[in-house]
């Protein structure tokens, strides 16, 4: 499934603890994922799991949520899956504020296909398709907030207890919730950029993160901001649709 030391298992662990803490009936949980190493989590979890096409998980989940509003749906995506090919579905799910819980396993690279650049590969870093350095990258939090998400939060795989809590809070937000889980790919990104082994990459996160509450600017001294970046209620898409069409004669 995953390479030795891969952080995807850590995020999956967080997700499982969060589900446990939330105490939701597992038959009311659905996991929808795209294509990528991270998305393979879906196939290994004992829920109703839907492993879709690359980049389209949120669009599949939108259809599912509309007809099954009672489900708690986690949409598991890689950074490439969610923000490269899947970028359009991401911004529109966000705009609609549909009650989906997007968990982005951001390892800054395309893991599954072997280390190509993603829109989250830090600018200038190397990838097999960016041998001379990567393009400018997105800040997922900014994109989520500007497009309408009502909950946006980030934690690294070093901050697992925080990650557990953020996933929980995301579920409790009735609307589109984005949790960016900064994980790492020792095999692809790590090796190419000489970041050391899994333990070293985890420790790098420890040393280069800062709680967002402590920042005045979002990119505080080049550190990664972790914690809740945005949380503001707004009417949820399916509820709104139901409300608007309620009076329509049968």
């Amino acid at each position: 499934m995953w390479c030795s030391g891969c952080g995807n298992g850590l995020v999956t662990g967080s997700l499982l603890r969060a589900i446990e803490n939330l105490d939701i009936d597992t038959s009311k949980i659905a996991i929808v994922s795209g294509i990528g190493c991270s998305s393979r989590a879906a196939g290994y979890l004992n829920f109703q799991t839907l492993h879709t096409t690359h980049g389209r998980a949120l669009a599949f989940a939108t259809g599912l949520k509309m007809v099954r509003p009672e489900l708690t749906i986690f949409v598991i995506m890689g950074d490439g899956d969610a923000m490269a090919i899947g970028g359009n579905h991401f911004i529109h799910a966000s705009r609609r504020n549909i009650d989906l819980n997007a968990i982005i396993f951001n390892n800054n690279i395309y893991g599954m296909t072997g280390g190509q650049a993603s829109p989250l590969t830090p600018q200038g870093e190397k990838a097999t398709t960016a041998p001379y350095g990567a393009e400018r990258n997105f800040d997922i939090m900014k994109v989520a907030v500007a497009t309408g998400a009502t909950f946006a939060a980030r934690a690294t795989t070093y901050h697992l207890p925080l990650l557990d809590k953020l996933i929980e809070k995301g579920v409790k937000n009735k609307g589109f919730s984005v949790v960016e889980a900064l994980t790492y790919c020792p095999v692809g990104y790590g090796k190419l950029n000489k970041k050391g082994d899994a333990t070293a990459m985890l420790n790098w996160y420890k040393e280069n993160s800062i709680p967002v509450e402590k920042c005045t600017t979002v990119d505080h001294e080049g550190k990664i901001t972790v914690g809740i970046h945005h949380h503001q209620a707004a009417p949820e898409f399916v509820e709104e649709y139901t409300r608007r069409t309620q009076g329509v004669k049968r």
Partner: protein, 377 residues
């Protein structure tokens, strides 16, 4: 069509929505595109009236994805589009084929390739419906010739889709989609409606049972834990790369269609007994052909009319069955000769196959067909 029953004026696209709702459709996801847009607009208005839901997605790819997602939630879902959107949907159509998710996809054909002429009719996406997505799998596609048939075949499309866990295409064209005819719409209780089989509760559940042609499909939310994927998968839906399992899966997908050819293939014919020339047609072109063949027969020419409402699976056997008794088969199409090739295959050299093709955005007229009949008979 009985004259006793009151008729109502319906547009083809409208009949499609009416058929879908009659078949139990309760979810539509789509993206507007001429000449299919009326289907989206009507679905937006009508579905909520019967408790269904409509969403306009950000694009056609998302539409196809949402249609599949909704079906997995238990809905009878559909979408409509035209050429450019049909091209975009192909990847996810392949997903639905592989994962065996019921749904109905309507393509109201317009002139291509590319943006072509958005408002001009064509029958140019016939082969694309068969081969548009990568990899091998069978497809089911209907091409109605009239407004009433659009209603009927839409109902049938949903039924087959549910029964066989297979996406089903309806290949309308701009003519049939946009024309209005006065038709009788059957009462709901005159219709046979098929719903997908559900697994028995508290029983071990195999969503892709190798022993079965089609396995029951549990809706998400009903408490069955299983996996759905577009990867090659085992009987429980989990990915595998085992070659034996791969072969079994893909063979079963083919078999489930092959075993139901009689139920799927709908054709219509007249004047075949003495025909030395048979005109083979489908969709809107069949309307001109019908008129032309009638004119020809009035003039004493031994001409037969063979129309197929089912494009895929193609009625190879039926055509091959009359090919040796016939000298010539004439295949008029609003494309460069797509079904022509299939007729050639069916005929196996036993008769001459002649095409009559227009790809300029205009319908083939009965006169053109008659003239061609006179020329090649």
């Amino acid at each position: 069509m009985g004259q006793i029953e009151k008729t109502r004026l319906f547009q083809g696209n409208e009949a499609c929505v009416a058929g879908a709702i009659a078949a139990g459709a309760n979810f539509y996801a789509g993206y507007p595109i001429t000449p299919s847009t009326e289907i989206a607009e009507l679905a937006a208005r009508k579905l909520p009236e019967t408790g269904g839901k409509f969403i306009q997605m950000e694009d056609e790819i998302g539409s196809m994805a949402a249609v599949i997602g909704a079906s997995i939630g238990g809905a009878k879902s559909f979408t409509a589009t035209s050429g450019p959107g049909f091209s975009l949907k192909q990847e996810n159509i392949g997903y639905a084929m592989m994962a065996e998710i019921p749904c109905v996809i309507v393509n109201v054909q317009r002139l291509g390739p590319s943006t072509g002429i958005a408002t001009a009719p064509a029958q140019g996406d016939i082969m694309q419906a068969r081969w548009g997505t990568h990899g091998d799998h069978p497809v089911i596609a209907f091409a109605p010739s009239s407004v009433r048939e659009t209603f009927d075949l839409t109902v049938k499309a949903f039924n087959l889709s549910e029964k066989l866990r297979q996406p089903v295409f309806i290949l309308l064209d701009e003519i049939v989609g946009h024309m209005r005819e006065n038709i009788h719409i059957p009462h709901q209780d005159e219709l046979e409606i098929i719903n997908r089989e559900k697994p028995l509760p508290d029983q071990p559940y195999k969503p892709y049972d190798e022993e079965k042609e089609v396995s029951p499909l549990a809706s998400f939310g009903e408490g069955f834990s299983y996996n759905i994927t577009g990867l090659v998968h085992d009987e429980y839906g989990f990915p595998t790369t085992d070659s034996e399992k791969t072969k079994k899966l893909l063979s079963r997908l083919q078999r489930k269609i092959d075993n139901h050819l009689e139920e799927i293939i709908l054709t219509e014919e007249f004047g075949m007994d003495d025909a030395s020339l048979v005109v083979v047609s489908y969709g809107c072109t069949a309307r001109s052909v019908r008129q032309a063949v009638k004119m020809a027969r009035k003039n004493g020419l031994p001409v037969g009319f063979f129309r197929t409402a089912t494009i895929w699976p193609f009625p190879y056997e039926k055509i091959s069955a009359f090919a040796d008794k016939t000298k010539t088969l004439l295949v008029p199409e609003m494309n460069m000769g797509q079904i022509f090739g299939e007729v050639e295959r069916a005929v196996h050299g036993q008769a001459r196959v002649v095409g009559l093709n227009r790809f300029d955005g205009e319908m083939i007229t009965p006169d053109e067909i008659l003239q061609k009949i006179l020329e090649v008979i």
